[in-house]
Assembly symmetry: C2
Homo-oligomer: 414 residues x 2
């Protein structure tokens, strides 16, 4: 606990320096980090080897081990990610708007760093580099709490980052790691209101739920995506097929992948056999409603639970709906307000869907897979917010800042 | 508990209708509310009389009773507040920005209502009308939980609001009151994540602290203001005196009032006797540091605690600092990141203060008392945020909205 408070104090102190540094200075730090990651890759790999051995002896799943595992190429990719962040425009300092009041006061909104950001994440050591670099670029100090599986890799990576900062003007306490990976310390971290300005969890549904439940610090909830593709009666069937196949199979394990297909009843007989065949030939298991099963028999009958589930796998639930209203209501009730798409040639239907669906990203005639900071053109991504406060959808550098009001007077009193 | 969930469900359902209503329809509802408040003022006063009798029999303070008490003029002022909200521009529907990606996707950010807003407040029945009207105008449904002292007044006011909505197309469940004012129900309300998109506490430090501690719903923290006026060595002494007097005495009970005066040592001997005399003649008790007491003897010696206290009263703590850096560091350590001001004729000092002070509103040569939605020109205010997520400083209608990404494609897949 005392260690946590000390880290909080150091982070806050460093943030008052870092938040006033120029983009040039911050980029210098990032450059050193990228270079030293490559230079010292053997050290990282040695530590990662220990993590992998521990993981295997604990019988951890192959998927988890793949997330944990580093090699020279992956380290190079991490470093290149840092070099890319250097190229991005620094959002800090922009005066977003400024106006004059009748009494002569000039009131402006200036973009400033959030301050101290906490990140809680799981077994992926690349998050350590990625999150630290993005926070730095936006002028924030960061306290990282990674999963126990990656602790040896993380320790070395953080050493490299902090020693890189030593070669620059950036305070080394701009980046700190919580080395005690116990659950108690994590819970205390979530309540570090005096020092943390925001806490961002990155990981699975369990982690995010725990953070939302326990944190007293402001949280940005990220992640869960129970996404739908709704195929309207007036649509380009070929386009619809391509979109659902892409949204489901191009990368099933990510949050912007589709988990559900909704089909208007008037087009179901024509569309579903084609679509389901294409999906099946890509290895997708179909769980359909009764009406779907009446059209394509060789599928599993979906339960209500299936429609609520983010499979993150080669599984898709399918439902036939009577009209667009039923589709919209279903999405608003069963969805997680992440990414939702309609495929239609109807102007009216497209506008109604756009207006009434309550989600971070609503698409007309495109795959939900585009909900991503890079695909949106932000050049980076710290996560995808599924809450409505502060940031919604993909979060880039701008979402790691806040504003302060700056007011120029000449003696005004009230 | 069940009642709370039912209210949550109704609010969520109503929000899907209200969020798609035109400004015209919403204004029609507000007009009816304002008219009916005036028409039915006798009913409100009768209920308020019961609240006042209960309060007096419980021996509640005069200040609290003044906040609770209504009369015809106060009800008229409440109604006029509603009519003013009609005049404000509806923030919903604005496409804040839109851009095209190389693949042809058009990505836009559209301003939409937050959804369901919870408001927890204390004894002031005017908050009931004010908060409900602002939420409605921005397309949000609202669940209100006022203090037990005002429950009879609130019940009648909410009846009037809901019956007013009945005369329009707005769902009556757009505005609901939690009638059970127990602490247990309040705590459950703070954890109503499935239905509440945001919770805004309005009231004293105790209430806000309880909400931050207990809520699992996203919260916008409002309120506490331990504000400073820093008088730099190069300043217009008359201006500095006017600003500190205004910031302290024009309304000591509000969060944007100054609680601390910091003075550069080089100007202290000239400035402090003048300033303290002016403050004392306005009834202000001075609690100064040792150096201050050496210049003006007839004051109380300040404790460290005094510098951390939001007095909300005719009390001011005074400290002499060696330079602007000490002033900035003191503010960043002791302040609550609300409103901070420098009085200076130095360009360099003004820019340094603006840059380095970490607060929602930073002033050059003006009173901190301007931190207010109306003074900023927003035409309304739901509170003053002292956190950094989502909104910082005075929150108007715009801060009661979020954005959603709208994406126009023509078959893009990834």
């Amino acid at each position: 606990m005392d260690e946590l408070i000390m880290k909080g104090q150091k982070a806050k102190k460093a943030s008052y320096i870092l938040s006033n540094m120029s983009a040039q200075d911050k980029n210098q730090g990032l450059k050193k980090i990228g270079e030293n990651l490559i230079k010292r890759d053997e050290e990282i790999l040695a530590a990662n080897k220990i993590d992998l051995q521990n993981a295997k002896s604990k019988g951890i799943s192959e998927v988890m081990i793949d997330r944990l595992a580093l090699n020279k190429d992956r380290i190079k990719a991490m470093a290149e990610g840092v070099f890319q962040i250097i190229e991005l425009q620094d959002p800090v300092g922009e005066v977003v708007s400024m106006w004059q009041r009748p009494n002569g006061l000039q009131i402006g909104q200036k973009r400033v760093p959030l301050g101290v950001i906490g990140i809680i994440y799981e077994a992926r050591p690349n998050v350590t580099v990625d999150a630290a670099s993005l926070c730095l670029k936006a002028g924030n100090t960061v306290i990282l709490r990674g999963g126990s599986e990656a602790i040896n890799s993380n320790k070395v990576i953080i050493d490299i980052i902090r020693e890189s900062l030593k070669e620059t003007n950036i305070p080394i306490d701009s980046v700190q790691l919580i080395e005690d990976t116990s659950r108690e310390v994590a819970t205390q971290f979530m309540k570090l209101n005096e020092y943390l300005d925001v806490l961002i969890p990155r990981g699975g549904a369990g982690l995010i739920k725990a953070v939302v439940k326990n944190a007293t610090v402001p949280v940005i909830e990220t992640g869960t995506g129970n996404c739908h593709i709704y195929v309207d009666k007036d649509c380009d069937i070929e386009m619809a097929k391509n979109i659902i196949v892409n949204a489901k199979v191009s990368r099933p394990s990510v949050c912007n992948a589709a988990e559900n297909l909704l089909v208007h009843k008037d087009i179901a007989i024509e569309f579903l056999p084609l679509a389901i065949e294409a999906l099946k030939s890509n290895g997708v298991e179909i769980r359909g409603c009764r009406a779907t099963k009446a059209i394509v028999n060789d599928i599993i009958l979906a339960t209500d639970e299936d429609f609520r589930t983010e499979f993150l796998d080669y599984i898709l639930s399918v439902k036939i709906v009577n009209d667009i209203d039923e589709a919209i209501n279903h999405i608003n009730e069963y969805g997680t307000k992440h990414s939702e798409a309609i495929v239609t040639e109807s102007y009216k239907a497209s506008q109604e869907f756009l207006q009434k669906v309550d989600a971070a990203a609503v698409y007309i005639n495109a795959s939900t897979r585009f909900t991503d900071g890079f695909e949106f053109g932000f050049g980076a991504e710290i996560g995808i917010s599924t809450q409505k406060l502060h940031a919604r959808g993909p979060m880039g550098l701008k979402e790691l800042t806040t504003i302060k009001y700056i007011i120029y007077g000449n003696g005004q009193i009230r």
